[in-house]
């Protein structure tokens, strides 16, 4: 499996899902992610899996809930408006401690918006767009290879921590084609799903999957348990990439496509003799706070770049040492709004 | 003789059994119990046919019916 193949980011997601053993895909078309259902409508049935183009995103997320409750790996994918519609279902999954993968290829909003690249759904993804104060795992690939690898990781983390996991990319990463190695799923040990509904087969006790928690103190205890699980995630699963940070006097931070663009800008800055490094969070939830804390212990200038008017900036500010200055450069989504490396270099020059 | 038993911890005193029995063998008590329910009781064991219609009507499955087989 080490021959390289040249595929779209979205296709890499679909291929990785199959490699991860997804049994059910439920989704509804929406640009710029429709390649995912299109690929899976073709390939998933060949593996004996189920593909349903559902009547709506709401139906889709609830089928994921059902299939996941039944103990199989299930997923859905969407963008902007469709992800908004799934919020109730995601909240139920979180409340029912169900795994399940949701792929969000962000497009511009609010409303119908348009299909250009956006990172303005960071809050929605990381703060729980649904009700109840839950969180989900959020992974942010910046290349087609990572689309593949992180999709597999999303399934594993989701199963291990029993919570929904999201692959969050923008349309640049979703639509881009690159050569990747279609790695096999790593042999991560996974917990047995003894909580799944199976029709009490093999004489098992009744299993119930639910989010209703009415007992005295039951829900409160659940919240603290979730909180502890989030802390465990933060400790064990925070992932990030550092580039040229060792001697950096200024840190640029960005995720997804913006990080790609920033990296080229940093090459330019280095060429001009500026000691600039990149801190790219790979997990957005858990946010790799430790990396920010560590770097900001010695480097006091940060520049956060986002395709929005500023969302991750909150997490950055909450993570760095108190005396760090965090500047922001935003290019909210829209036709022609993607920043160029030249433009980011200009911003670096201003702040350096 | 067929007969029925009524589980008072299940009965909520709705009275649906009382209209099911054509022989009027089930009635409700006058005074409510500690949950506020006027539970049903089997009034005339002798006339029961064991037809189980009272049990079929009971939404709380409070009635058991016995009969020679």
């Amino acid at each position: 499996m080490s021959e390289k193949i040249f595929v779209k980011g979205n296709e890499a997601v679909a291929m990785a899902a199959i490699e991860a053993g997804v049994r059910c895909y439920f989704g509804y078309p929406i640009t710029p992610q429709s390649d995912i259902p299109e690929y899976l409508s073709r390939e998933l049935p060949k593996t004996g899996g189920t593909f349903i183009q559902v009547e709506s995103e709401i139906g889709a997320i609830n089928m994921v809930l059902g299939a996941s409750a039944a103990g199989v790996r299930a997923m859905t994918s969407s963008s902007g408006p469709g992800i908004s519609l799934k919020q109730e279902g995601i909240s139920y999954m979180a409340g029912s401690e169900l795994p399940g993968v949701i792929v969000d290829i962000m497009r511009q909003g609010p409303g119908l918006g348009g299909i250009d690249a956006s990172q303005a759904d960071y809050f929605q993804a990381t703060r729980g767009g649904g009700h109840g104060g839950y969180r989900i795992i959020v992974l942010a690939p910046d290349s087609v290879q990572e689309m593949y690898d992180l999709t597999m990781l999303a399934f594993d983390l989701s199963d291990i921590y029993r919570m929904p996991a999201m692959v969050l990319a923008d349309s640049v990463i979703g639509q881009m084609k690159e050569s990747i190695v279609a790695n096999s799923r790593p042999e991560t040990p996974l917990p047995v799903k003894d909580w799944a509904v199976r029709g009490r087969a093999e004489g098992a006790d009744q299993n119930v999957v639910k989010s209703l928690k009415l007992g005295d103190g039951e829900m409160e205890a659940f919240h603290w348990a979730m909180h502890a699980r989030y802390q465990e995630l933060a400790d064990k699963e925070s992932r990030w990439e550092e580039y040229q940070t060792a001697d950096a006097e200024m840190i640029v931070t960005a995720f997804g496509s913006t990080a790609r663009i920033a990296r080229t800008a940093i090459e330019g800055a280095r060429a001009e003799g500026m000691k600039v490094g990149l801190l790219r969070p790979i997990t957005l939830f858990p946010f790799p706070k430790q990396a920010y804390t560590a770097l900001s212990a010695r480097c006091k200038r940060f520049l956060d770049i986002e395709l929005s008017t500023g969302q991750m900036i909150d997490d950055v500010r909450l993570s760095v040492a108190r005396d760090t200055d965090v500047a922001f450069y935003g290019r909210p989504p829209g036709a022609g709004s993607l920043p160029t490396p030249e433009e980011l270099l200009e911003q670096i020059r201003k702040i350096y | 003789m067929p007969y029925i038993t009524i589980d008072e911890s299940r009965c909520k005193g709705c009275g649906l059994c009382t209209i099911a029995c054509s022989r009027k063998l089930v009635s409700l008590r006058d005074a409510p119990n500690s949950m506020g329910y006027t539970v049903a009781f089997f009034s005339n064991p002798d006339a029961c046919t064991g037809c189980a219609l009272c049990a079929e009507m009971c939404p709380d499955v409070a009635i058991a019916v016995f009969k020679e087989s």
């Binding site: 639509q175 084609k177 690159e178 790609r260 663009i261 990296r263 | -």
Partner: protein, 180 residues
Amino acid sequence: MRHDVFISGYGGQGVLLAGNLLSYAAIHQGMNVSFFPSYGVEKRGGSAMCTIVFSHDETGSPVVGHPSVSILLNQLSFDKYADKVRQGGLCIVNSSLVITGDRELPGIELVQVPMNQLAIDLGDARMVNMVACGAYTARVSALPRQSLDEALKKALPERNHRLIPANIMAIQAGADAAQR
């Protein structure tokens, strides 16, 4: 060395296929490639664009502010993107549809190729994109013309492989027309 090329035209001119073709050619040359397409909401009539970055190292940003080469297939693309080409770069235009007029592009070399005409001459107007790719190879040594022959097999679905010879001719025609 990192290369980049930007291609733009209207939907239906085969911009994305051209981009794919150049991508596969670069892969064939052992390079890493990032191919980044974008298009308007409309399926047809809207504009289609793509950027290809290729390099023996990392490709870095898929977004390029000032491409070293732009291939512009219609008037709108020319009007909008010609002056985005980087200083010292190349602007290959489809002169069958584009009137460059008195537009000045200082520091940018303009290469005019009558792509529609060449394609029609070869019997299929839809080969405009092939002509364009040929023109590119004539001017950018990183992708030799022959690399496109192999690339065609990957870029075209199996059922269209019978068209490869015709496409090769169109590529050649483009290359010839763009030759310095």
